[in-house]
């Protein structure tokens, strides 16, 4: 049998192999993670809830299935953490907000149902920025998650708890959600892989809505193969999400296994969007790491072409109008009537709405609802929201033009490695840290964040982002896998004792 220290370091792929050939059991694996959580969680604070008892029961049931020769999938018994905005029946889903404290999900989200059907063990719920609004997890109403690489730094956000739980070896993998970079940026800050699938690839049914035209659920994991395998589990058409795309099983993990026979990228053309590389204020270390990554891809046989995304400068403005407008409409449902917090200070129906919302939401959520309400309000709708939707068309065209010249785009994920707590107090400054990630939520394309190197000065990981057209995840999985095998830095285990 394997030791706990070995078990918690396994990738999803290796853990599945160990379960399959009897080197471990789900009970052993789950116990190893629960022990690890007990040891490091006081420092990392990645999880809002740990389902210790229920996880062990799920693990025992999984082991029984496997012993009977009938595992539900190769991942039967695999522990996984879920971001706290993904509903699981019978569990609290708070979105790290006071307004949903005590809210128990009455049903499973589509993705939770898929994970249960595969036999996965639901280990716990990951911290996040309240309602997924933020880039550092500092907006959680409950706790401050630390970056496992440097406990004085943020893990990124909004899926910071998901990323930190994977990086701190508290789970094999996690699910997060990405509205403007909320999977890719924390993945980069924590040295793990993160995928924002194509919009519509994964059903949003049971994901608490932030900005419905941008939100997408995706995996955070130790390797690109792991992310591909998790996408295989959760990607499917769902009639309960009208934006879910009809699709056949893509078998991404199997494709990667075939690709690994000869993981070369000969004939592949990679686009370098010049606007992303010319950004003022980019950390020189990130620039250097990008240059090194380009050399790795070149050594794999890929060639490069300069491309232009001319409306890049406008993407943040476009994003913050659309995301806040949609958020203000989506968050209207939190009114203190049917579920969630109701203010004890209210005297009539209007003050119930106003006080429940005013007291229940944190500052960043209030700010975004206010901005969204403003840009949608009478007299401003055309000038802000409608105009932003037209600019969104221009941004999408930029990507479509760029794809005519290349197979995928290679960009930084963030302008700098993880920052310290409290370093970005100005909301606009915080928003601008998402400059490389928001555009493809607007375009609907898929993006993969892969750890590239460790910044020598800070000791923090830095990631690269691969961007492909809608439904072309296979391209970035292959390229990301080839890169992962060829990069100089092999080990991305956080130095957390």
């Amino acid at each position: 049998m394997m030791t706990n220290s070995e078990l918690i370091r396994l990738s999803l792929r290796d853990a599945a192999a160990a379960l399959a050939d009897g080197r471990t059991t789900s009970a052993a694996l789950t116990s190893a993670f629960l022990e690890r959580i007990q040891a490091v969680e006081p420092k990392v604070r990645a999880l809002l809830a740990v389902n210790a008892e229920s996880a062990l029961a799920q693990a025992a049931a999984s082991d029984a299935r496997r012993a009977a020769g009938a595992p539900l999938s190769p991942f039967d018994g695999m522990p996984i953490t879920l971001k706290d905005n993904i509903c699981t029946k019978g569990e609290q889903c708070s979105c790290a907000s006071k307004i949903l404290k005590g809210f128990i999900s009455p049903y499973d989200s589509f993705v939770t149902g898929k994970l249960k059907a595969a036999g996965c063990v639901l280990l716990g719920r990951a911290n996040m920025d309240e309602f997924a609004m933020g880039s550092s997890c500092e907006n959680s109403a409950y706790q401050r998650t630390a970056n496992p690489w440097d406990l004085d730094c943020v893990p990124g956000g909004s899926s910071g708890g998901s990323a930190a739980s994977v990086a701190a070896l508290e789970t094999v993998a996690a699910l997060g959600s990405d509205t403007g970079g909320s999977i890719r940026q924390p993945a980069a800050f924590c040295g793990v892989v993160g995928l924002k699938p194509t919009y519509g690839r994964v059903s949003r049914n049971g994901l608490v809505a932030f900005a419905s035209s941008l939100d997408q659920i995706g995996p955070l994991s130790r390797t690109v193969w792991d992310a591909a395998a998790i996408l295989d589990l959760i990607a499917a058409h769902d009639e309960k999400d009208s934006t879910s795309l009809p699709q056949e099983p893509a078998n991404f993990a199997a494709d990667l296994e075939a690709f690994e026979q000869n993981p070369r990228l000969d004939g592949v053309k990679i686009g370098l969007p010049k606007e992303y590389y010319e950004l003022e204020g980019m950390d020189p270390a990130v620039k250097q790491i990008m240059n090194d990554a380009i050399e790795v891809f070149r050594s794999l046989g890929a060639s490069f072409v300069d491309v232009s995304l001319p409306h890049t400068k406008y993407s943040m403005a476009c994003y913050y109008i659309i995301a806040t407008a949609e958020a203000s409409a989506n968050l209207a449902r939190f009114d203190g009537i049917r579920y969630g917090y109701r203010s004890p200070n209210a005297t009539d129906i209007n003050s119930t709405y106003e006080k429940s919302r005013g007291e229940g939401f944190g500052n960043e959520v209030l700010r975004r609802i206010m901005l969204g309400t403003y840009v949608l309000s009478s007299g401003y709708y055309d000038a802000y929201y409608l105009r932003a939707q037209k600019v969104r068309t221009l941004l999408r065209r930029d990507f479509q033009e760029a794809y005519k010249l290349c197979d995928f785009l290679l960009t930084p994920v963030t302008p700098a490695p993880a920052f310290h707590f409290g370093a970005k107090t100005d909301p606009l400054q915080m928003y601008l840290s998402d400059v490389f990630t928001t555009a493809l939520n607007l375009s609907g394309d898929c993006g993969l964040s892969v750890p590239a190197a460790i910044d020598a000065a800070s000791g923090l990981p830095v990631g690269i982002q691969l961007i492909a057209p809608a439904m072309e995840e296979k391209r970035i999985f292959r390229a990301g896998r080839a890169f992962e095998l060829a990069r100089a830095q092999k080990d991305f285990t956080a130095p957390l004792s």
Binding site: Y107, Y199, D335, I349, R357, I369, A383, L386, T393, L428
Partner: protein, 103 residues
């Protein structure tokens, strides 16, 4: 677009959004909103005449599922999260119409 330096009436927007804001938050919120709105004003530079708006990344229209009867969610489970109930069956809300309370 609002002219540069236009003051945002925070109280008015808060009332539209049904938010009761702490008094001490309002001046700071006003300056932050004006700063952010000032930033997003850059979209005014672009000529968007003749450009169709994009509402969704995936343009699918009239997505309907088959009209098949199915089991509704159990009522008790749906009401389990309500802050206040009448006889376990109805959501109880504070008085809606002005006037004397109904006992």
């Amino acid at each position: 677009m609002a002219e540069q330096g236009t003051k945002i009436d925070v109280a008015q927007v808060a009332s539209l959004a049904r938010l009761s804001l702490p008094q001490d938050m309002i001046p700071r919120l006003q300056s932050e909103m004006e700063q952010i709105v000032g930033y997003v004003e850059m979209l005014a530079e672009l000529d968007v005449s003749g450009i169709e708006p994009t509402a969704h990344a995936v343009a699918r229209t009239n997505v309907l599922r088959d009209d098949v009867p199915s089991e509704p969610f159990p009522r008790e489970e749906m009401l389990a999260n309500a802050p206040d109930l009448i006889e376990g069956e109805l959501v109880k809300v504070p008085q809606v119409l002005p006037g004397e309370g109904i006992a």
